[in-house]
């Protein structure tokens, strides 16, 4: 199946008919609501909070956020939320449904127009993979992601959390998104549900320092059942494989090979190549 991101930009893809299809499909509703509940359990909000919904669409997840515990199982709710989306058709469906949150027509790739420390938490369901596509030649996916994560980092309060569920196209995209988040200052980690299956769901869990957490996802998932922590970070001071110390034998051999490829005259390698000269006396 082709990915919608590859066919059209989001504001054109989600036109009136596609928005309606998306909102009325009971299958999509079910998946969206499951993912929202999962994201809420990761956010672990103790009391009614102010939440930003990035790519809120027709407010499918927003309805859960403004629901109460008895009603739809929102812990700590009802929350107050502000949603932003780039598709005006999606937003008009949301208006028809009279969702409780405030709506903004805005492109997350242009930044998040809120003052510092606004939100307790942010949630995003199936949206940020769209940021990996730039529609104009003046823009790049990297700069769109950077603007988004920088804006998001600033608009969350200290100790706040954000959970973004997204559909990565490949490993590369996963890495691009999480490294952009780390660059913005977040403690970032990926949580994968049903890994390796067709229903795999990827959640990017972001934390802003200053809270009671350890500063990253390991603090979030502590105490959760069935979660394995895989350390993907490189230890500081550890060298990448294949990288030699400057001046070592390996380094000299590599340089000589490089020069040879360039067509320079290079002395032949021998057992003395790269060997230390001992002090004569």
């Amino acid at each position: 199946m082709s990915r919608p991101e590859d066919t059209l930009p989001p504001d054109l893809f989600y036109n009136d008919s596609e928005s309606r299809k998306y909102t009325t499909s009971s299958r999509i509703q079910k998946i969206q609501s499951d993912m929202t509940h999962r994201a809420l359990s990761l956010l672990n909000l103790p009391s009614p909070s102010l939440i930003l919904d990035i790519g809120c669409g027709s407010g499918l997840s927003g309805e859960i956020l403004s629901g109460t515990e008895e009603h739809d199982g929102t812990p700590g709710g009802p929350h107050v939320w502000v949603g932003m989306d780039i598709s005006s058709s999606m937003l008009s469906v949301a208006l028809e449904k009279e969702v409780e949150g405030d709506l903004l027509l805005a492109d997350a790739g242009q930044g998040v127009p809120f003052r510092a420390g606004t939100f307790d938490a942010a949630i995003s369901i199936s949206a940020i993979q769209w940021l990996c596509n730039a529609e104009t030649s003046a823009d790049t996916p990297t700069s769109r992601l950077a603007r988004f994560f920088n804006g998001l980092y600033a608009s969350l309060r200290r100790g706040g959390r954000a959970v973004c569920q997204f559909y990565p196209k490949n490993e590369e995209q996963k890495k691009m998104i999480s490294s952009a988040a780390v660059k913005a200052g977040f403690g970032a980690g990926l949580l994968e549900d049903d890994e390796g299956t067709k229903n795999a769901k990827t959640y990017l869990v972001l934390t802003v320092g200053g809270g009671e957490l350890d500063g990253d996802i390991t603090g979030v998932v502590r105490g959760m059942d069935g979660v394995d922590v895989v350390e993907g970070r490189q230890k500081l001071g550890q060298r990448k494989r294949g990288e030699d110390k400057k001046g070592s034998k390996g380094w000299i051999l590599k340089k000589k090979e490089q020069m040879e490829r360039k067509g320079k005259v290079v002395k032949q390698n021998s057992k003395y190549t790269g060997r230390k000269r001992r002090i004569a006396f």
């Binding site: 909070s49 027509l105 492109d107 003052r115």
Partner: protein
């Protein structure tokens, strides 16, 4: 768009980020609406320290709403507690709820105090899409 949201929105243009005049956005030709909702005391208490009170007063003055008290209400002002009874929302909390969560801008514009860019509000949805050269 609720006045609560307006108390957090800034101008989206990059060059305005560093200027203090980019917050708050000033309403222009605004039509107001009131949407009733349930009072959420815990939320009000949570959000109170994050409000910029003087800016909120400015906005209500510009919109011609009844003036707010000059001093910032505290968490204790929100409840009336009588002996042996449950906590009840005070008049202050009710007024605050009315202004922040029930009053909203339906149509009109929001103008940045720094660059003068006007963001349109239609049916309560603010348009914060920027043309490419302003991003």
């Amino acid at each position: 768009m609720k006045l609560l949201t307006l108390n957090f929105l800034t101008c989206a243009i990059k060059s305005c980020k560093s200027s203090p005049a980019s917050f708050p956005l000033h309403p222009r030709d605004a039509t107001l609406e009131i949407i009733e909702s349930d009072l959420n005391l815990a939320f009000l208490r949570n959000i109170l320290p994050r409000l910029m009170w003087s800016e909120l007063c400015t906005i209500t003055r510009e919109l011609g709403l009844p003036a707010l008290p000059e001093t910032v209400p505290t968490g204790e002002d929100m409840v009336e507690k009588k002996e042996g009874e449950e906590e009840v929302a005070s008049q202050t909390a009710k007024d605050l709820h009315r202004v922040l969560l029930e009053t909203g801008i339906r149509e009109g514009g929001l103008v940045c105090g720094n660059c003068g860019h006007e963001y349109k509000v239609l049916e309560g949805v603010g348009n914060f899409l920027l043309p490419g050269h302003l991003v």
